[in-house]
């Protein structure tokens, strides 16, 4: 029997800045242990030096260790060389080597400010298991926030379920969903379980895969808009987290909100860990 391909499995990655030498610099790090993915970001004197992005296992402390070890791979860095570490995400209190845990709300605002620039006022973090709408000022300080973690609709995990159901790699969902002649009605937007049932029905009716994906991406965009309505959207508007990589959701959201969403070359999943590492630097300098 052929090996079963796990279609929901997104690409893990790591990166080191080849032009930078960390020796003699202040090393700080941020570890974002989320429900689905874990990231480690290492800064040298406040500048991005290395990162890793991988799946979270069943054990948060192990996931944190794996993430930081992968980020430090081949750099010659050891855990002892890191002066200050901030833990964030769902597993933030389970990062054994962190000096301080900080909420992902604060870290994502700070990280988005660094990734997208200080003009960002609305940050939508679309993570694996929850969705957060955040307003922040020019320093990346939170001014208003709202979180929804009681519902899987509008989360990365929901998208993984659909990728699996339709036999499409999670990395291709966005592009495929845009490849439709006419935008179909969205599927049920309040529950992933029911949305999946509905999608199975649509497939039985003979809908092509990309049309079903379009209906789901559109449902997700709708779902998020109802959340955004509570706090409103101010320009500039940016998205962090894994769903920011899904053009199918991003473009539909952009169309419905009527505001341009900022794009970036950065890995959007890094925002939380990057914010954590930036806080780590400030906290160390303040002696906290």
């Amino acid at each position: 029997m052929a090996d079963k391909v796990e279609l929901w499995r997104w690409t893990e990655s790591r990166w080191t800045n080849p032009d930078m030498d960390w020796k003699g610099k202040l090393i700080t790090s941020g570890i974002d242990v989320g429900s689905v993915s874990s990231q480690a970001v290492i800064l040298a004197d406040g500048e991005l030096y290395a990162y890793s992005n991988m799946r979270t296992g069943s054990n948060s402390p192990d996931s944190a260790m794996n993430a930081i070890n992968w980020a430090m791979e081949d750099t010659g860095l050891k855990l002892d060389d890191i002066t200050y570490t901030v833990g964030t995400g769902y597993g933030r209190v389970n990062v054994p080597f962190a000096q301080k845990p900080i909420t992902e709300i604060a870290c994502h605002a700070r990280g988005a400010n660094a990734i997208y620039g200080n003009t960002v006022r609305t940050v939508l973090d679309m993570g694996g298991q929850d969705c957060k709408a955040i307003h922040c000022d020019e320093r990346g300080k939170v001014t208003n926030f709202l979180m929804n973690d009681k519902c899987a609709a509008g989360t990365g995990r929901g998208m993984e379920v659909f990728a699996d159901l339709l036999g499409v790699s999670i990395n291709e969902v966005g592009d495929l969903s845009l490849n439709v002649e006419e935008e179909p009605d969205p599927v049920s937007s309040t529950c992933v379980v029911y949305a999946k049932t509905e999608a199975t029905g649509l497939l039985r009716e003979g809908w092509p895969t990309n049309k079903v994906l379009a209906a789901y991406c559109s449902a997700m965009a709708h779902r998020i808009i109802t959340l955004l309505e509570r706090i409103g959207v101010e320009e500039d508007f940016a998205i962090t987290g894994g769903i920011a990589k899904n053009v199918g959701v991003v473009q539909r959201l952009e169309k419905e909100v009527g505001i341009k969403i900022l794009r970036t070359e950065y890995d959007t999943q890094l925002a939380g860990a990057l914010g954590g590492a930036l806080f780590a630097k400030v906290l160390h300098e303040k002696g906290k």
Binding site: A106, F145, N148, C151, R230
Partner: protein, 95 residues
């Protein structure tokens, strides 16, 4: 900062919004709430600030629809204890 604690589910929006710029961390809401929904401590979403502010306790954030229900009868609704206790009008309920 407006801190919206709570959630949205199939039945509606359940959020307690605390204006941390108004809140001075006096803790009157904590003593006023009969069900331990409110707490006071460092602002976890503003790690660089030393001020203490009110928040909705972690254990209650996902069930305030039910915990707050006894204070919200359908008819003759009295002022909510937390809102009435706040001298700075820093608390709002969305439902």
């Amino acid at each position: 900062m407006i801190a919206n604690y709570g959630y949205k589910d199939g039945s509606g929006d359940y959020f307690i919004a605390i204006d941390t710029d108004r809140c001075n961390g006096c803790g009157d809401c904590v003593t006023a709430c009969p069900y331990g929904v409110m707490g006071v401590g460092p602002d976890e979403n503003d790690p660089l600030s030393d001020d203490e502010v009110a928040f909705v306790t972690e254990a209650e954030r996902k069930k305030i629809k039910y915990t707050c229900a006894p204070c919200k009868p359908m008819a003759d609704r009295p002022p909510l204890p937390c809102i009435a206790a706040c001298p700075l009008d820093a608390i709002e309920h969305s439902w």
